[in-house]
Symmetry: C2
Subunit: 151 residues, 2 copies
DNA sequence: TATCTAAATAATAATTATTATCGTTTATGA
DNA sequence: TCATAAACGATAATAATTATTATTTAGATA
């Protein structure tokens, strides 16, 4: 099936990345990467750990943290800007931005090409060199507006 | 002097806010608020505590945390979006945005009226109601570029 | 394919950031 | 001044993350 094929391609790409970056391709790393590539909800380390336990029953939470840290340092994934205490992660991909619901805490992607193409205010140059620009919108999502909210 | 007068006005405004919100005006709260209103570096709770100890030697770190939480719930201050583990705070003021240096970690304000006035992408409406929009720019500041960095 | 070794893992302990508990102090209103 | 609920400080507890270490394993080599 298509899904099956996609998995295969993803795995090949990941193996390639490991070879390039010079780190070992382990089952744990592959599954953590897969999980993050498939997720759209910017999971925390604990969430990833919980989701993978059925498939990798011996996986330690520490390994999840270590692996996420490794991936981040090599640019395969990024941490999301939040005001929460738990770090939230996502696979590095196309430039995009985030909507955060103040009630349920869900973090949703959105794309905004007009913004991506807009030049920064000129005085930014005096500050230094900018390499990434993020927009975060806070508000209340439709689901929470209608019901009374908490995830 | 002018500085002295400003302090006085600030204190009056703060006392007013306490009365309105219905919470007690204590020395601790006043000093924490003052410190945050004067700071431009988005200090963490511990930083505020350290700065106030000379003036309030019995101030507990716990009180700083509790007070910041109170202020935040009443909209007097806000947490800053970061990927750090420590929460960083600022007094609520004019709409503005942040530059974060990847090397030294300093968070600098910048203003961008063009952005503030720009309409959001239309499909955002389907998500819900947005009440705040933040831009965060990541990069390397001039100081770090020139020297070798770390705060 | 069997062997070797540095890197990675899991278990555990430690650290860091934040919040809760509780007895004492204090701001505020009668 | 007095009463009282709110806030404080000391301390303990919890939550999130990182360090330590003995064991396992990916990947290189013979
Ligand atoms: Mn995202
Ligand atoms: Mn700011
Ligand atoms: Zn919501
Ligand atoms: Zn810097």
């Amino acid at each position: 099936m298509i899904e099956h094929h996609r998995q295969h391609v993803l795995q090949a790409q990941f193996e390639q990345a490991c070879r390039e970056k010079g780190f070992k391709m382990t089952q744990q790393r592959l599954e953590i990467f897969r999980e993050l590539a498939a997720a759209s909800d910017h999971p925390a380390a604990e969430t990833i750990h919980r989701r993978l336990l059925p498939k990798l029953p011996t996986l330690s939470l520490d390994t999840v943290y270590r692996t996420l840290s490794t991936f981040e340092h090599h640019g395969l994934i990024t941490k999301v800007d939040t005001t929460e205490s738990q770090a939230r992660f996502e696979a590095a991909g196309e430039e995009h931005h985030h909507l955060i619901c103040r009630k349920c805490g869900r973090i949703t992607d959105f794309y905004w090409q007009r913004f991506d193409e807009t030049a920064l205010p000129p005085d930014i140059d005096r500050w230094g060199r900018v390499s990434k620009k993020n927009v975060t919108l806070y508000g209340i999502c439709k689901e929470c507006e209608e019901s009374g909210g908490r995830r």
